[in-house]
């Protein structure tokens, strides 16, 4: 079949269009576009079906695994697709690695090196036990995240625009330095021994729970990496859709109970806000996908992210 590839302004991206097998998939089309345009590798391409001008409908995005004939509505042997360049892309694992590396390396700098003299403080300082445990806890957390990125998480096929590397690293690295500055400060005031133990103890339990959640999520997807969504089940997922975010937030709560800094709490609130946004999207997507019609299971009644609030 013949495929015409146009840009959103209507111009033909590939003069004369492309010739593909009738049985070709969207992935084949993306390969063909890449061959002709060199610059636009498949993960940079966003292909949609044209919408009527003035229509408020969201355009249908072509899914890379589907066959092209699914989009031609059967009758025609010619298909027009609209192309959008998503810009240079990076793998999610690359993005995560760099955003987590910052906190992992920056925090110990405030603990081990005499940085506070540059802020005008005397060099001598007493290191409280809680500050040492906080260092271990924090570094373990980000080490765990990096390990999960490479060995546990199964990402959907998607990549991320390279601009997100700068945005995400700014977020993680800035907050990392912000918290590290206060917890390792020469004038840091520790909480009681009991409060510290409760905080770190609770935090560790939540980190273990969080790891288990990640294992459960991993098993929902097959190793061939074709993404897709299933109803999560087991452990805390039976009561809350995004149990992985729940345990992550509570794990930060544990850290903050033990270290008690405004900076730590601010970070936790911001992170909870970001995760809540994602959780709402995921919860809605799952409810829409699993609507109970046409033999599909119905998504069960569950909390979104933070029982008993949401």
């Amino acid at each position: 079949m013949k495929v015409l590839v146009v840009t959103r302004s209507g111009k033909e991206l590939i003069k004369g269009g492309l010739q593909l097998n009738d049985s070709a998939t969207v992935a084949d089309l993306q390969e063909a576009i890449h061959k002709r345009t060199r610059k636009y590798y498949p993960s940079r391409q966003r292909l949609t079906l044209p919408v009527q001008p003035g229509s408020k409908e969201r355009p249908t995005v072509l899914h890379y695994q589907k066959s092209l004939s699914e989009y031609t509505k059967g009758s025609t042997s010619e298909l027009t697709v609209v192309f959008k360049d998503l810009g240079p892309q990076v793998k999610y694992s690359t993005l995560f690695f760099f955003e987590y590396l910052g906190p992992l390396l920056l925090y110990p700098i405030f603990y081990y090196f005499p940085v506070y003299k540059y802020f005008g403080y005397k060099e001598e300082r007493v290191i409280h036990p809680v500050q040492t445990y906080a260092l271990y806890y924090w570094c373990f957390h980000y080490f765990k995240r990096i390990m999960e990125t490479f060995f546990v998480h199964r990402f959907s096929h998607a990549t991320s625009p390279i601009s997100n590397v700068f945005r995400n690293c700014a977020y993680y690295w800035s907050f990392g330095a912000f918290i590290a500055y206060f917890v390792n400060h020469p004038l840091y005031t520790p909480v009681s021994d009991l409060q510290m133990k409760i905080g770190f103890g609770f935090g560790i339990v939540c980190q273990v729970a969080n790891f288990y959640c990640h294992l459960l999520l991993r098993n929902l997807r097959s190793p061939s990496g074709n993404g897709g969504y299933q109803i999560p089940r087991g452990f805390l997922f039976n009561i809350v859709t995004c149990a992985n975010y729940t345990t992550e937030i509570y794990q930060w709560l544990g850290f903050n109970i033990a270290t008690q800094t405004v900076a730590g709490y601010v970070f936790m609130v911001v992170a909870a806000g970001i995760m809540t946004n994602w959780a709402l999207g995921k919860h809605r997507r799952l409810k829409k996908l699993f609507d109970g019609k046409e033999g599909r299971p119905k998504y069960p009644r569950r909390w979104v992210i933070l029982p008993p609030f949401l």
Partner: protein, 221 residues
């Protein structure tokens, strides 16, 4: 129903714009009068009350944008109003040592002329449906001079305030404390100065774009 709501909106906005216009007119009048009669050292004291009122009232404009009463995006109004409130309350009102500075006069004149034009423009539009082309021209052209003069005054005053900020320790929180938090208003001032560096080309560029849009639209009509 929609017709009545739209009318209420128009009446409210007309009142709002003309009342604040009057406040800024007072500021301008008192500033010029004081400059002529007593000198720049006394300008702040003369304009303080209407200035604080008229500028603080602008917080309502953020609300107007948020609820959709006006079209201006919150992303443009919020930084503008924040910087005004910071300079006015956070610098001038908080540090009386600055009030006799000559930049106070240039600040107050720049702000008041801009606002007189802006509020009368919107007030006329809401009350009468449209504004005369000379007012449109003024609203989208005087910023070309008044933005730089206003910003120079703002930056100059923040910079002049720095030694007084350090000396007074105002608005700063020191460690040690139970919540392991500190805030240094001096560094916050440096950050504010830093924000002016990319912030102002951005705002100026935004206004230039608005000017192009507004003046070309009126040519077509």
């Amino acid at each position: 129903m929609a017709g009545i709501l739209s009318l209420v909106r128009r009446i409210y906005l007309s009142f709002y714009n003309w009342i604040v216009f009057f406040g800024w007119f007072q500021v301008f009048y008192l500033a010029v009068k004081t400059l002529k009669e007593s000198g720049h050292e006394h300008v702040y004291d003369a304009v303080e009350k209407p200035l604080l009122l008229a500028q603080t009232a602008a917080i309502l404009e953020i609300l107007h944008g948020l609820v959709g009463l006006v079209r201006s995006p919150v992303s443009a109004t919020l930084p503008q109003i924040s910087s005004r409130l910071y300079v006015m309350w956070g610098i001038l009102w908080s540090f009386p040592e600055l009030r006799s500075h000559i930049l106070v006069s240039s600040l107050v004149i720049s702000w008041s002329v801009t606002e007189i034009i802006r509020y009368s423009f919107f007030g006329t539009k809401e009350a009468f449906g449209s504004a005369p082309s000379w007012l449109l021209w003024l609203r989208y052209s005087t910023f070309l001079l008044l933005y730089p003069s206003g910003i120079t005054s703002e930056v100059g005053l923040i910079y002049s305030a720095l030694p007084y900020i350090t000396e007074s320790g105002k608005y700063s929180l020191r460690m040690p404390n139970k919540w392991n938090f500190s805030f240094d208003y001096y560094y916050a001032g440096l950050v504010a100065l830093g924000i002016y560096v990319p912030g102002n080309p951005h705002m100026y560029g935004y206004m230039l774009g608005q000017r192009k849009k507004a003046l070309s639209k009126s040519k077509k009509e």
